[in-house]
């Protein structure tokens, strides 16, 4: 109860600090000193500190199951394990916004103390823009989604956290994703400040690169965790579903990845300045759009915590305020620079190739944006409801992946400014022939998929082998880039092999029944019942025999949660190096027959590992940067 009050008042204090810091910033901006007013540091620190107190206030309310707090009442229950009581803090709309604010205030404080070598005016402008965003979020939280609403009379028991959100991967997924999203807000503010201050230079590129790397790393890991959760918990049996909510997190990632490459050109050649700024702005705008689409309830999914039009309206206007603000600043301050921007690029050089890489990424980004937003536009304009599914994305993305992969396997050999045509190397040709043979063997023994996939396969192998070759070469320059590129090629390869080799059997079975299929037999041995802490579970004992008399046991579960009363089905997954055996059951009528879905998913674990390698590359690059200082 006290924690609740402390939380509320510290949050309000945080907003007051935001408002008081702005006049100080403006005054300091106009002064002729080169030193930032000390008060700015302390106010920024206290702002972060009070939001932190407020956040802990909410955490404590959750731990104590203080149901006088409406958020706790709606999302917690006394029988819940302590771990999920804590993660329940950000597993709901109000709490997750408080977390946004916490990260926002933390990052701006970090920016202030970590940017000492930068010009004063630029730093102050960045803080001003960032404070505008922070005030927007403070108002949003306090007006529309106060996490400390008081309930009286105090309910005896809470409504409980949605059971599908009770998962370790999901407990850390939102905070990590937010670190990525909010990191992009720093990039946004600092790029606006850099335009106004006319500070878009090699220095700036070098300085902002760490923020880009931080956001990119966390965004990648955040998306990965979400994907792992969807695979294990939702039992959809795959790693990516092109669900609107997944796409919404992919959009800023693509834009940020483009930025990550493009900033290199700015750093080396002071070129592509406008483009860098556009990407910096669009990354954050896409993050906020994602928040809007998910939180307003326009997209219906497991992430839609609240369907409150008032909230949607607030984010919508805030979002367009940010868009117009950045557009106006961009058009006013970026004018006279545009003339000398056409520094000539050589056709065969690293700059050109990065530009082409950006064009590819922009194409993938537009496919995702159109696929996600088109149904919304169509519904408003014509009242017709459609849903865009995986075939749309696959058809549009796959063909362009082929030139992209070819391109990616050539580019790392190019040099800055000007490069000769690559010498046709016997080694590389041999490597390519090897890839052709591997792909041919795959299709000969495992069947032909489709034309595009069969063209894609050798090139994927080729990229994979060249990245390995790079990895082993003696030249250890760009080590981080090599790791990431290796991770990426590995990811594409795993996805491809996964789609070629996976198989699936769906059947309705009763206890004691058997079903034989091409690859073996499914035996439904027995059912048992068990009691968990806040659920009852029905466990099916299954045995799978394959044709070589090798058998495994799988135990999928149906969980009947008491608060709220929801039935979830937990897949049982046996993971091995080369494939995952995945079995999930659902009850059909009276719990006598069960719908059983058995899948063999090849190379599943490699998809997670390769995505992790991709992210680690970013971390290496960051580490290298910090050491150079």
């Amino acid at each position: 109860m006290i924690a609740n009050q402390i939380g509320y008042y510290s949050l309000t204090l945080g907003l007051i600090f935001s408002i008081t810091i702005i006049p100080i910033l403006v005054k300091n901006y106009n002064q002729h000193t080169q030193i930032i007013d000390k008060r700015i540091f302390s106010i920024s620190f206290f702002q972060f500190f009070f939001v932190l107190v407020s956040f802990f206030g909410l955490v404590i309310s959750f731990i104590n199951s203080d149901f006088s707090n409406e958020t706790v009442y709606n999302n917690s229950h006394t029988t819940k394990p302590i771990f999920y009581k804590i993660s329940g803090t950000w597993g709901n709309h109000e709490g997750s916004l408080l977390l946004w604010l916490l990260v926002l205030t933390f990052f701006i404080f970090l920016f202030l103390i970590k940017s000492k070598e930068q010009p004063k005016k630029y730093r102050i402008l960045t803080v001003i823009f960032q404070q505008i965003i922070i005030i927007g979020f403070f108002l949003f939280v306090l007006i529309t989604s106060n996490p400390f609403n008081y309930l009286f009379p105090i309910p005896k028991e809470g409504l409980g956290l949605n059971p599908i959100l009770q998962d370790p991967a999901l407990a850390i997924h939102p905070p990590i994703l937010y670190l990525g999203f909010v990191g992009s807000s720093i990039i946004f503010s600092s790029s606006l400040a850099a335009i106004v201050h006319r500070y878009i230079s090699k220095n700036w590129a070098y300085h902002i690169k760490s923020w880009i790397l931080i956001s990119w790393f966390f965004l990648t890991i955040g998306i990965l965790l979400g994907s792992i959760w969807a695979y294990y918990e939702l039992g959809w049996g795959g790693f990516w579903f092109w669900d609107p909510v997944e796409n919404v997190s992919l959009m800023p990632w693509l834009s940020l990845t483009a930025l990550l490459h493009c900033i290199l050109v700015l750093q080396k050649k002071t070129a592509l300045t406008s483009w860098t700024i556009i990407l910096s702005i669009s990354t954050f705008i896409l993050s906020v759009s994602g928040t809007f689409l998910v939180r307003s309830g326009i997209l219906n999914s497991v992430h839609t915590f609240a369907n409150d039009p008032e909230r949607g309206l607030f984010i919508l206007f805030f979002l367009f305020f940010l868009i117009f603000l950045s557009l106006i600043i961009f058009s006013i301050f970026n004018k006279n620079k545009s003339n000398n921007e056409f520094i000539k690029f050589n056709l065969i050089s690293k700059e050109t190739s990065i530009l082409i890489n950006n064009w590819f990424i922009m194409y993938f980004l537009s496919v995702v944006i159109i696929g996600t937003l088109y149904p919304i536009f169509l519904e408003v304009l014509t009242n017709e409801k459609i849903s865009v599914g995986p075939p749309f994305y696959i058809k549009l993305i796959l063909p362009f992946l082929i030139p992209f992969l070819i391109f990616m396997s050539i580019v790392p050999y190019l040099k800055w400014v000007k490069s000769e045509f690559i010498k046709v190397n016997v080694e590389l040709i041999l490597l390519f022939v090897l890839c052709l043979i591997i792909s041919f063997l795959i299709f000969k023994y495992f069947g032909f998929e489709s034309l595009i996939i069969s063209i894609l396969t050798p090139f994927t192998f080729y990229l994979f082998l060249t990245t390995i070759k790079d990895f082993l070469s003696k030249n250890q320059k760009n080590f981080a880039q090599k790791i990431s590129h290796f991770g990426f090629s590995f990811l594409i390869l795993s996805i491809l092999l996964n789609s070629i080799f996976s198989s699936e059997v769906i059947v309705n079975l009763k206890e004691g029944e058997k079903f034989s299929f091409k690859g073996g037999t499914i035996i439904f041995n027995s059912l048992e019942e068990n009691n968990g802490k806040n659920y009852k579970s029905i466990i099916g004992n299954f045995e799978i025999n394959d044709n070589k008399n090798y058998s495994i046991k799988l135990k999928p579960e149906l969980r009947i949660y008491n608060q709220p009363s929801i039935i979830t089905s937990e897949a049982d997954i046996k993971t091995s190096l080369f494939n995952d055996k995945f079995l999930v059951m659902n009850s059909v009528k009276n719990r006598e027959y069960f719908n059983v879905r058995y899948q063999v998913k090849s190379f599943m674990i490699w998809i997670w590992i390769s995505a992790l390698i991709l992210a680690i590359g970013g971390l290496f690059s960051l580490k290298k940067k910090l050491y150079e200082k």
């Binding site: 009379p153 809007f292 326009i298 219906n300 919508l316 557009l327």
Partner: protein, 172 residues
């Protein structure tokens, strides 16, 4: 000049997006479960104002329509929709039955005293079982039954003006 045209075109396009998003906000996306023609099963509970256990079969009689309203004194939205329920109780072809969800009887009685009683009967649902059996998602929730105790409509969340209009249309 060219830049200016581009800038204006971009502004127009973004404004267009704003309008579309704004409109789509009003498209309700609330998920209302499809429960066509399900008959409400018999349930038994105490009345809020007496100690005897009464079966729902004895209450759900002699009316063209029945409205089951799940409410609680601690629930803010219930308070907001209460005047609408009071208005509904004037309609002679409808019988309103309250289900008092997970509430302290004392608070519930105070609530009724303060805001008026639209219900012809109030079941006490101390542990929430009745509401869950009815397929409730939370409080408040309003379930409309016809003469044969079949569910014809369900309103999840409080009755706003739009759903109230819809409700009155059904009862005509």
């Amino acid at each position: 000049m060219k830049n200016k045209i581009l800038f204006i075109a971009l502004l127009l396009f973004i404004s267009f997006c704003l309008v579309v998003f704004f409109k789509s906000l009003n498209n309700s996306n609330v998920y209302i479960p499809d429960t066509p023609n399900k008959t409400v099963k018999e349930f038994k509970s105490k009345s809020l104002f007496s100690e005897d256990e009464i079966s729902s079969e004895k209450i759900l009689v002699n009316s063209d329509y029945y409205i089951l309203n799940i409410w609680s004194s601690w629930c803010g939205p219930c308070r907001r929709e209460h005047p609408k329920l009071m208005e509904l109780s004037q309609n002679p072809s409808v019988k309103l039955i309250g289900i008092n969800y997970r509430d302290n009887p004392k608070n519930a009685k105070n609530f009724i005293k303060k805001f008026g009683n639209p219900f012809s009967f109030i079941f006490v649902d101390t542990n929430g079982v009745i509401s869950i059996e009815l397929g409730a998602y939370g409080v408040p929730e309003t379930i409309v039954l016809n003469k044969d105790k079949k569910i014809i409509k369900k309103f999840v969340g409080y009755l706003d003006d739009k759903s109230f209009k819809e409700l009155n249309f059904i009862l005509k």
